[in-house]
Symmetry: C2
């Protein structure tokens, strides 16, 4: 039994929480695509992190489900809008919203997901102050800034590794950090626990994105649910394109096939090198988990870290 | 001196509050179009309503400026995304964001405006609970639902007047209602005052949209800042197209020029009829204002009602 199977009962609860939004019958053009994207089979890693972080510090599941759903809805908002901007036609093996419907509908779907995310967040039973709403808003803006940087970098031939690190922190790691942080806050953890889990989230978030860059080139296409190489071939800046540019002493925009990328990565031994950068983040993540008291839920968080580190999709 | 001139000092303060977001130097692709749309010369009616509603019940200006800015940013979010969906190329006499930049940038600009709106709202100095954040979120979702209805109606030949009323209430009146409501709440008005000002906002919002439908056909194009007839010729459902369809006993989609619309409106005496529907809402709005105690700011609210009722753009 994998960790993903063990967490099935939590995933089911999260799905039920997300389903509890207005049905598609009410203004179908608005709610159908919202339900469509929410029901695409994701692993629900982010809301699971919210629930487990909260439970690990003694929180109650009924308090944790609304913010967990909010985190997933925020994630889906960014997916739908990013897919338009990147002109991606498949997501999790299915047509993206702007392909299945149209761009206008997809814009509205993303907006709706964001509104529903706030509504869920603000319904968290044991929170009456503004702290999580502020953190959520800051994270949402960071995600937008990260997407803007990602778009800006596409126009440039070379970017530095520190620019890349800033971009993935905003675009990817911030949301995973937020997931853990608001879980710990809603779980009413002590300040030290909240800090440790926030830092844990940031580290797995960074590791997650670097893995993602590797999977863009090395994953099985069917497993990945989208075209292999779609990032590097679109001139997206990934850790792979940056390190490869450095080694070759020139940009990678002349490389027109995934096979050629694989060949060069092999030649320079980059896959192992990049995996070890990701691994460093996962080591840091585990050190942060070591700081909170052991219990069943903390064990799940270690297992989830292993899973993310070794995932194939 | 018009009411718009008298309110210049408040408008300046609102503009300063809106400008106090990160500068364009920080991630230009993200912040430049945000500042561009915020600086387009709008009348700032919605944030003025927030400020005046709050002051009218004894609120402090420094508390009212952040929620007023939030209302304007929420409005601008919806303009930028709606302009993409409606493929409008001018707004307030200037190029729309997706024309000046591109669709991807305009999507991100709208998202950013919404995030900044929440950040402003959550910085309201005298509010520590979740009430205004919840109202704001409900309004944001209503606006999206209204836009979805508007899009859905474009595909249909005929819609009923009650469907139209539901659509404009969500799409337009909700935001104007919210502007007054959160002004009254942040101004720490009594429950009765909050109710009266909320109802006032709803009524002027309804009147405002019906006027807008008239202006789409009868405004001076230069004054309006966008093409005259752009709604009816795009098959948008307005009170004009609905009543005209009723009178003729058939849809209006065969009418291909604004002149022809004007001719038929004249023939059926529809302009006066529709103006009188709008006027009914403005009468109701004034009755609501009558319920709060008289002061300088309430007078401005009456004047603003007159201005909206008689506006030419």
């Amino acid at each position: 039994m994998t960790i993903i199977d063990s967490l099935e009962k939590f995933r089911k609860k999260i799905e039920t929480e997300i389903e509890a939004i207005p049905s598609s019958d009410k203004i179908p053009l608005f709610y159908e695509p919202i339900h469509y994207i929410n029901r695409l089979s994701g692993k629900k890693i982010r809301p699971l992190l919210t629930v487990l972080s909260g439970l690990a510090v003694g929180g109650k599941i009924e308090n944790l489900l609304p913010p967990a759903a909010a985190v997933e809805l925020l994630h889906n908002f960014s997916l739908v809008h990013d897919d338009i901007m990147d002109d991606d036609d498949t997501r999790r093996g299915k047509e993206t919203v702007h392909v299945k419907w149209d761009i206008g509908t997809a814009i509205l779907t993303g907006d709706g997901l964001l509104g529903l995310a706030y509504r869920k967040l603000l319904s968290t039973p044991n929170i009456t102050d503004l702290i999580i709403a502020r953190l959520f808003t800051d994270a949402m803006l960071e995600i937008c800034e990260g997407q803007a940087l990602d778009k800006t970098f596409e126009e440039r031939k070379l970017i530095s590794e520190s620019e890349y690190i800033e971009m993935i922190q905003k675009k990817t790691a911030t949301l995973i950090q937020l997931a853990c942080q608001i879980g710990a806050i809603v779980g009413e953890g002590k300040d030290k626990e909240i800090q440790s889990l926030t830092s844990f989230g940031l580290s797995i978030g960074m590791g997650f994105q670097i893995q993602d860059d590797l999977l863009d080139i090395f994953a099985d296409e069917e497993l990945l649910g989208k075209r292999v190489g779609s990032d590097v071939l679109m001139n997206k800046k990934t850790i792979i394109s940056i390190r490869l540019s450095e080694r070759r002493g020139k940009p990678v925009d002349d490389i027109k096939s995934v096979d050629k990328f694989r060949e060069l990565i092999q030649e320079y031994g980059l896959a192992e090198e990049i995996q070890s950068i990701a691994d460093t983040y996962f080591v840091k993540a585990r050190e942060m988990l070591d700081k909170i008291a052991p219990n069943e839920y903390r064990s799940y968080l270690y297992d989830l870290t292993d899973y993310i580190q070794n995932r194939k999709k």
